[in-house]
Symmetry: C2
């Protein structure tokens, strides 16, 4: 199939509204295989506005008289409005966007065509080999897995039993093991009917099972959709807003996730225990807990490189099915099937960590926002496909650019790094009390409010830091002054 077949229009005159407090942009609108472009003419700044069509989550068209309006709700939660001259043009553009934004083929997606200046294919794909990590954490025993496949006959698996026995044998003398199951005891039992199950107490001596049920899948996606709906309503009372914030349960998910991650981290750090985390598949809530527990305990995972390594290892290589989970964001009218904002929930929990420990993460809110954006729609190949096997089949590593290579560009640093960072060798224990958790306004209000105040403050702090570096740079060094006459 050729993209050209799906493009039903040449170009049209349009005005674009990008959100509150941003001036409208007038110009010529056209569509390519992967982008919507608005070219406002040679004198204008910026000279080109560009939207990756994959970023469109829902599209709404309205025509009146001899013009039309298209509202694009994006996966990154931004809302765009296009006022277009001509009814036919409006309908053609809307149909083209609809068709092109919902293509499912991976190997015709934009990352396979994106060839930015200054980046080389293959760069940064292998700079986080897991072997280095394993060497470093040889005495830190945090395991993750899928559920044991006991089934209705309560089958046992001697290899699993041997493995967990060996783990305890290799740990400190007398160390205990905790199995953190992210399902309720009922759900774990029911899983037997479909071949899954849970560890029988007798078969795993020294290991204690703790159930900390975390919602995933559809309830989580619905929570996300309802939160974004509530955030978009600017004409509600405080009572109604707080009521909706409560009933959508997003912050409850944040609280439960952080509590469970603290439990896992605490068992390791304070009891010297070995911890195994799993839910059903080991590719969703399991990863939430193992990755957050590492951020709490391991100072290296809080650096820029360490955090990228963590995401590469605990999410991408661990097989979180990004393509299925992030197929749609909060605006799509498609009923969710496999979609779930598990990765967003992780980013939100990291944001809460960063808010509670403002000096301890080397990366800032901008990094978390960028990761959210790229997980849902990206010119880079990092979040493509659902697992390693699919990525190999599609040759993602040789035919697309790595996001880590894109983010390492010097011009990106100011947006991504925390100017207040001071390495902190200790564990950082977040408070999961409801009073201490906040709505991540920088993300959830980005479609409705002008730039977050914290962004403004951030920019100013960077300016102060950069001025300081310049001043220091222009100062004569000691050796230079000693070399003077």
């Amino acid at each position: 199939m050729e993209f050209a077949e799906l493009i039903r229009t040449g170009q049209a005159q349009a005005e674009l509204l990008r959100g509150p407090e941003e001036p409208p942009l007038r110009g010529t609108l056209c569509i390519t295989g992967h982008h919507l472009l608005l070219s406002p003419g040679p004198q204008a700044t910026p000279d080109l506005w560009l939207l990756l069509l994959r970023n469109v989550d829902s599209i709404e068209k309205r025509v009146a008289g001899d013009s039309g309006t298209i509202t694009l709700r994006c996966k990154d939660l931004r809302v765009l409005q296009l006022d277009i001259e001509g009814v036919e043009a409006t309908l053609d553009i809307a149909r083209s966007i609809e068709a092109l934004s919902s293509l499912e083929s991976v190997i015709t997606s934009f990352p396979f065509f994106y060839r930015p200046k200054g980046l080389r294919l293959g760069d940064a794909w292998h700079f986080h080999p897991p072997e280095c990590y394993y060497k470093r954490v040889a005495r830190e025993v945090l395991l993750r897995a899928g559920q044991p496949l006991t089934g209705p006959q309560k089958r046992r698996c001697s290899e699993d039993e041997d493995l967990l026995r060996a783990v305890l044998a290799g740990a400190q003398p007398g160390a205990r093991g905790f199995i953190v199951d992210t399902r309720s005891p009922q759900a774990a039992k029911q899983a037997r009917m479909t071949g899954g199950g849970t560890e029988a107490k007798a078969a795993y001596p020294g290991w204690k099972r703790l159930h900390r049920p975390l919602e995933t899948g559809r309830p989580l996606q619905e929570s996300f959709v309802r939160l974004v709906e509530a955030c978009g309503d600017l004409e509600q009372s405080m009572d109604r807003w707080l009521n909706r914030l409560e009933s959508c349960r997003w912050l409850s998910h944040v609280k439960e996730t952080l509590s469970t991650a603290c439990l896992a981290a605490q068992s390791m750090e304070q009891e010297g225990a070995c911890v195994l985390v799993h839910g059903a598949e080991g590719t969703d809530s399991t990863l939430l807990i193992t990755s957050l527990a590492q951020l709490i305990l391991d100072p290296l995972s809080r650096t820029m490189a360490g955090f990228q390594e963590l995401i590469e290892r605990e999410w991408i290589q661990a097989g979180h099915p990004f393509q299925l989970r992030c197929a749609h964001s909060a605006f799509s009218h498609a009923r969710p099937k496999h979609e779930a904002p598990t990765f967003l929930l992780f980013l939100d929990c990291v944001w809460q960590l960063g808010r509670q420990f403002p000096l301890s993460l080397e990366f800032g809110e901008g990094m978390l926002l960028a990761l959210f954006d790229h997980a849902y729609a990206s010119p880079f190949g990092t979040f493509l496909c659902n697992n390693e096997k699919e990525r190999c089949l599609c040759e993602v590593r040789t035919r697309t650019h790595s996001l880590w290579s894109g983010l390492s560009q010097p011009k990106e640093q100011r947006k991504l790094r925390n100017p207040l960072y001071v390495p902190n060798p200790l564990a950082i224990w977040p408070s999961a009390e409801p009073q201490s958790l906040r709505l991540w306004q920088g993300l959830f209000l980005r479609g409705t409010r002008p730039p977050e105040p914290s962004e403004v403050a951030w920019e100013k702090v960077w300016q102060i830091v950069t001025d300081q570096e310049k001043t220091e740079g222009s100062q004569p060094t000691d050796s230079a002054s000693e070399a003077g006459p």
Copy 2:
């Protein structure tokens, strides 16, 4: 009455717990007329811990075996626990604190005895004369008043009518006037039965009345008490917390106050209208609106000096009855009579402004916290008494120190000033959408959580700024290097 009569104990050994993550302090406890002191011995740092007894809002004692525990809940929302050796000593200390913390006489209060080094009596009492302000704002017409005393017979007052006619005559040609009444139309009508009332339309041509009901008095105090109760409960679910946050209505009060202030400011700025604000007495919600409208419109009121001037003019000189309103804070078991956290509501609204415009206020959160603390219990005389008449009778200006003089000490600046401040000549329009407003955690969680993360970030930014100033100071100037060999 002598203080000595109320002090029932000599001294006792005690351990003090000052809150989460603060180490306990052991030492000798004793009571003076105005303070509770703990002296941990010559080697300890700090060598003396001191609490103004006036700061105690409620006291709870428990004895068991041969020791006792006293829990002091302070007006500044901090909670202290004292474990004391000896049952008699515990009971004596508790009784002494109860008696001394509830003394009502102004002229025997601590400000009349406080003589700090480096400050001179009389300083800073007159550095905000209202005359300068009137000259500066001669064309800004924002008025405040009490309700017109029409009474049940609908009396008219020709002086009032002349005055408001003169205001419009002196304004731009065609300017309209708005009367913002902070009561509901029903409440304003009912006020006639007790001698009050509202402006009859026919009697005030050119003026339009707008009702924006704001709650004051008892409902506001109860809202405050319920919010602090909810903040102190660390074992609740997210649902329960959001539910209590909604039902205590504090954030609704913040929202309504900011909306009404925006309405007043908008009428002046965008319609060139004259605005008169009043409720019943003109000493509570009226002041909220006039002072916030000025912060929105007037860049000078956002400087350190301008903000102090604003509080002096719009709250202290305008007759906000601080002594009655701030007699108790959120913990007292006394049923509120005249207490109401109107001034705290103002500070919270300013905090929201500062959060939404992080560069535009010269003062920071520390200034707002200090003002809250001093309004409820202070060694300075600024917030004593209920009005100018009482302050003159007590000779407050000659016999106590001004808070403004205390806050101008160099060592206080880092806590009070905003390191990111950039003067902003424009009006700053806050969003009063519920999504944009936040719980002021730095204040309301101060009794239950370790230092706010924002305080940590703040301190780090100050460090960067100070380092930068040092670096700049140590650099050779241009002229110096030109004078070199």
